[in-house]
Symmetry: C2
Subunit: 206 residues, 2 copies
């Protein structure tokens, strides 16, 4: 549901950019492939932002939604594991939206990682994780290390006071209940696509 809020935020931004000032739940729903009642319910959850017979003021609603998501505050992020994937994440504009700051990266081999990266985020040795983080507020860690060390690194991150982990490692990590984890797993998506593709070909034959 929070993910949908984030979608609303994104689409409102694009409306704003296009100079559209007023929008209905039906239009938002159409653009995102949702049901309009759902859009209204999601928004109504946090207050009454709409005007019956009119719709929503784009500017207004966007401000509200950003307030709910707290994307109007600074989020401090670190990257752990600067291999192929990590490097890509660093150089991929659009990964870090407005409000998110990548402070530094960590790798077992910071030299070669630093060379690969074209961003100006400093890369430190993972052995120095604790000392570098010490005293800093870190909100989110992006985890992109090899599977073998994922749990161990996670434990260290939690000890360091990281509050949330975006996990790109294709494996479940164990964390205390108060730590938020979100999973991004490409190959899983690819495999599940394969299932439906095959279905389609069978359907054609039958």
């Amino acid at each position: 549901m929070i993910k949908r809020l984030s979608l609303y935020s994104r689409i409102l931004q694009s409306f704003e950019f296009q100079g559209i000032e007023k929008i209905s739940s039906a239009e938002v729903a159409r653009r995102l492939g949702l049901n309009s009642a759902q859009v209204r319910k999601d928004l109504a959850c946090f207050g009454q932002f709409g005007i019956p017979g009119f719709g929503y003021h784009v500017n207004d609603l966007r401000k509200q939604v950003r307030g709910i998501l707290k994307t109007d505050r600074e989020m401090r992020v670190i990257l752990v594991g600067v291999g192929n994937l990590g490097t890509a994440l660093l150089s991929y504009r659009g990964f870090l939206k407005q409000g998110f700051t990548m402070l530094f990266g960590f790798d077992v081999n910071p030299r070669s990682a630093e060379g690969r990266t074209r961003s100006n985020v400093p890369i430190y040795d993972i052995r120095d994780l604790e000392s570098k983080i010490e005293g800093q507020r870190i909100d989110i860690a992006v985890l992109a290390v090899p599977v073998e060390v994922a749990q161990e690194v996670t434990n260290r991150l939690v000890k360091c006071g990281v509050l949330a982990i975006l996990n790109f490692v294709p494996m479940r990590i164990e964390v205390p209940a108060h730590i938020q984890v979100r999973y991004v797993d490409f190959s899983l998506e690819l495999e599940s696509l394969a299932y439906y593709v095959q279905d389609r070909e069978k359907a054609k034959r039958e």
Copy 2:
């Protein structure tokens, strides 16, 4: 649900690797953080693979699951958009699991894309998409182009007979009903994590 099957497949592989021959739904559930009834139900959906009072034969079950997912067949994949993200996907071992073959990439600037990539997948000009694909069976296209051209490229892919799209572009793409689309959206995940992080800090204060 199909995604869970893929998870089962992955964990069974690791059991097999560890030389474990017999497994119970409860153990699989524990490892994946699921309920054992769910595991049994998911599997029972496609046949009776288990033995009451014993559990499941790992080898056997794995074969069955791979059969269901059709990951025992070859899936032919292309990559469209070889920018930062696309490059990373090409070099990221583990993206393409067993059974998936990356045939080629396409970009508006194939030269610079080719240079960046350390894989040996050939990169062609996107203008030649139709002619290069012509006559080939392409199952899945991985979409990693800029937002502005995503819909246009999608239309061309569909015309070329691509059956499924793994979309890394942070926007909804419109496709005919018989085309499967799966979305991977990092920044959405990051934003939603932020929401919970803030909640947590508030919770501490209160």
